[in-house]
């Protein structure tokens, strides 16, 4: 892997981000809207009976942490789509750029945008509701990284689907990640899910992360057991997703980049 090539790809998408209002809105506007809507709603529900702080913190932290997973996958899927729309894949791959460098650039972009977006959302949460999501800062770090890993897995799978089926499946770039949201127990404890859904949640790494993060935020205790299970699942899924992405790219090369749309 050559760093200058990874940097070239990062530059390409950062330039795009600079020029695209859509991208900026996706990064800052929607997390803020979610925070305002869900924050106010949960405040109201809690005020009808229950602990205001507890419910508010659960929902608001869910929004902030979900932003990390979402950004992790978004930088893969939407940037690949962007290349398809622009018919720019040829310009990328007639150069010495390797597939692994392209993926590394997406991962790096996912990491940086996740930091920016979730940091912004966390500040908004603090400003709007005085919710200190990162009060126990470093204890949350393993979970934040695990969420990013899950985002990369989803990104590789959806990116692979886009490579295989083109713009016909472009809706997956924004929507597919939502499939795992209900099982991840983003805004509620895992116990709130019906039995069958809890069984599905066992194999979803983000379900351990959201449960574990809530424990850190409310009590300051980090459950390493959850970290290890989520990490193992993520490594397993990442290996599968990488293999799928590579085979999808091979299929694109069988059809030729000129015909890809």
């Amino acid at each position: 892997m050559r760093l200058h090539r990874i940097w070239g790809v990062v530059l390409r998408y950062n330039y795009l981000f600079k020029h695209s209002l859509d991208r900026q809105v996706d990064a800052f506007y929607w997390p803020t809207v979610d925070l305002v809507l869900w924050g106010v709603t949960s405040s109201y529900i809690a005020s009808q009976g229950g602990s205001v702080n507890q419910l508010l913190l659960m929902v608001v932290s869910g929004i902030v942490l979900w932003t990390i997973l979402y950004r992790g996958q978004y930088e893969f899927t939407v940037n690949i789509l962007e290349e398809v729309w622009n018919k720019n894949l040829i310009n990328m791959f007639v150069s010495p750029l390797k597939l692994s460098e392209w993926v590394a650039a997406f991962s790096l972009l996912g990491l940086s945008k996740a930091i920016v977006s979730s940091g912004f959302a966390a500040l908004m949460a603090l400003f709007l509701y005085k919710a200190h999501i990162f009060a126990h800062g470093f204890l949350l770090l393993p979970f934040l990284f695990l969420l990013l890993m899950t985002g990369w897995c989803v990104g590789l799978v959806v990116g692979g689907l886009i490579l295989r089926y083109g713009t016909r499946v472009q809706i997956f770039a924004w929507g597919m990640v939502s499939i795992i949201a209900p099982f991840s127990a983003v805004y509620y404890p895992l116990s709130a899910l019906p039995n069958w859904a809890q069984k599905v949640a066992v194999i979803i790494p983000s379900s351990y992360v959201f449960e574990g993060s809530r424990e850190v935020i409310t009590s300051g205790i980090l459950d390493w057991h959850k970290v290890i299970i989520a990490l193992s699942l993520n490594v397993f899924y990442l290996a599968l997703a990488t293999a799928f992405f590579k085979s999808s790219f091979k299929k694109v090369l069988d059809r030729g980049l000129v015909k890809f749309k």
């Binding site: 050559r2 200058h4 090539r5 940097w7 070239g8 790809v9 530059l11 390409r12 330039y15 795009l16 020029h19 695209s20 962007e82 729309w85 622009n86 018919k87 720019n88 040829i90 310009n91 990328m92 791959f93 007639v94 150069s95 010495p96 750029l97 390797k98 091979k250 090369l253 069988d254 059809r255 030729g256 980049l257 000129v258």
Partner: protein, 305 residues
């Protein structure tokens, strides 16, 4: 030694054989024209030469090394431009050249972008978004981009299409100069046969996925036996046309001119006959067969298959 060699390249898409056992080579400093009608297999061949399409069979070698084994090292010294590929729509020309420069191992990237902008007269449009450029300007940026890494081998797919004649001429001269200075090897496709004759040392003609001819433009043109005799006649045009019809000669009327397509060795006889029939004319011009005639004949042959 051939700088680029393709051995027995074939590509099949389902039941359709797009390229069938194509072998070609490109020498150092050579400009090779790749011609053929639409759908002949030119773009498919170029894609395989660039490694962005996997061949069903065959292999590509650059500098004696296999493209599939040494892709990274090889593509560092190769570049490509096509009028039909896009550039990132939202980026400015400068940003576009900048990110592409990072995909290659270049020492002074900013210096190179400045030089490229200067060479291709892009200074005025460096800050403009690609989406705001004219088709000709985009083509110019596309060609400029392909020079960013000092390529030893260039694959240019219709690099002058949609350019104004003066800019197209500038690009052709630039290519010839670049070849002169740096011994760059170039594969060039174009539908402008005069351009191919001007620029290319050798031409490969592809039809139905197969190479049907491989020679210099002059030799290919000389394989055509017919010439075009054009006569300007103010008084006898209809009579000359009638005489041609009687002799079953292929002819075309345009204003006061008639163009007769005839075998070269029959020209003298025809002119003598016209004189014998008192069919005078004011002007005569004889066009020797060109690469375009070769192209048309080969395309016609192909379409009859």
């Amino acid at each position: 030694m051939a700088i680029l060699e393709a051995k027995n390249l074939s590509k099949r898409f389902g039941k359709f054989q797009a390229v069938d056992d194509v072998s070609l080579s490109l020498k150092e400093g050579e400009i090779l024209g790749l011609l053929g009608p639409n759908g002949a297999g030119k773009t498919t061949t170029i894609q395989m030469l660039l490694g962005i399409l996997t061949p069903t069979a065959g292999e590509v070698f650059y500098f004696g090394k296999s493209l599939s084994d040494y892709r990274e090292e090889i593509l560092e010294q190769v570049n490509f431009s096509s009028t039909y590929t896009n550039l990132p729509w939202d980026l400015t020309v400068r940003e576009c050249l900048s990110f592409v420069s990072y995909l290659y191992d270049i020492d002074d990237r900013q210096g190179r972008i400045k030089k490229i902008a200067d060479l291709f007269r892009l200074d005025q449009i460096l800050g403009k978004n690609i989406m705001d450029l004219s088709a000709g300007q985009i083509t110019r940026v596309n060609v400029a981009k392909s020079f960013i890494n000092f390529p030893k081998v260039l694959l240019l797919d219709e690099p002058t299409a949609s350019l104004d004649p003066d800019v197209a001429d500038y690009i052709r001269k630039f290519l010839l100069e670049d070849r002169q200075k740096f011994n760059t090897s170039i594969i060039f496709t174009s539908h402008n046969m005069a351009e191919v004759e001007e620029v290319c040392d050798r031409v490969i003609f592809i039809n139905h996925g197969r190479i049907v001819a491989d020679d210099t433009p002059e030799n290919l043109a000389n394989t055509i036996q017919t010439s075009h005799v054009q006569l300007l006649s103010l008084k006898n045009l209809e009579a000359i046309a009638g005489y041609c019809t009687k002799l079953n000669l292929d002819h075309k009327l345009e204003g006061k001119r008639i163009t007769i397509t005839i075998r070269e060795k029959q020209i003298a006889g025809l002119l003598q006959d016209l004189s014998g029939q008192n069919l005078s004319y004011e002007e005569i011009s004889i066009e020797k067969p060109t690469l375009e005639d070769f192209f048309l004949e080969q395309s016609k042959k192909g379409s009859l298959r």
